[in-house]
Subunit: 156 residues, 2 copies
Amino acid sequence: MQRTRFGEMACSIARTMDVIGEPWSPLILRDVYVGIARFDQLQEDLGISRKVLAERLKWLVEQGVLERREYSTKPPRHEYALTPKGTELVELLMVMVRWGDRWTAGEAGPPVLYRHHACGRIAHVELHCSECGEPMGPADIDVLPGPGADVPVPSS
Amino acid sequence: MQRTRFGEMACSIARTMDVIGEPWSPLILRDVYVGIARFDQLQEDLGISRKVLAERLKWLVEQGVLERREYSTKPPRHEYALTPKGTELVELLMVMVRWGDRWTAGEAGPPVLYRHHACGRIAHVELHCSECGEPMGPADIDVLPGPGADVPVPSS
DNA sequence: CCAATGGGTTCCCTTAGGGAACGGAAGCCT
DNA sequence: AGGCTTCCGTTCCCTAAGGGAACCCATTGG
């Protein structure tokens, strides 16, 4: 619903939510990431209303998160693919998965597992500091005002 | 709106969205994390409707993400605090901030900065593998079915 | 006694999600 | 050639959820 526009707020959380804050968007990105890329596949896999799916896809393409490309011209057919901007959002999904696994999976265990190419092991993501490489969580930081504070509208 | 229930899906992303997928929830958690913890403070800081704020807080408390506690009995006054379950969600917020900083901050730069206690430097989060400690992003993993796949309802 | 503060609740209006039906363009089958 | 099927949406209507403003109640301070 969200009639309050988040994109104008001087907060990167709000601005991220403005792009993918509508509840279906992360699931759409997940599906595209794992290769479910066409309209009907998405609709069936998610159980989303076709109307809402069309709206979401349009929005996500406008935001530069997805790209709509023709994979067949003779019958015009399209599929959706992650842009670099969208691929980085998948990192966010990986952290959501981690939290969901820990707190909502119950006894059945996690629905999916990740195997890390580098070490070949089943693993999950952890947050580390970009500067020193050590773990960095909510308790390990001070939050300071940055240069973009109090600037309501960034660019567009 | 989300009349489709996400909590039943065998997907940790969907189940996480079921808890905090409504657009205001991450901003509420952000505020509580930085110490904006009382109803009126939240309402003013966010510009959210009081009705929706009351609903969200109730939901987040029910979900065990926030805790409502009385900090004064004489006039009964309450504030909200993050539980451990909620504190781990702040990790998710930190990743959202990272994405928002990179892709939506514009020339003004990030609205807030993090200083890492361990090294004292301004930093952002990066995703690493829990097993080998190396970077682990969307391109570095295989996604495999886990034990909880095809189990629609986890516990509750 | 009156106003202010804190923390909500109630009411009404508008808007966005859900579901089902429709549409249209290009194969494919017989 | 006619009709079925696939893909990708659009349109319609209904209901539920968000927004805003007003109201409420308890306590405290002046």
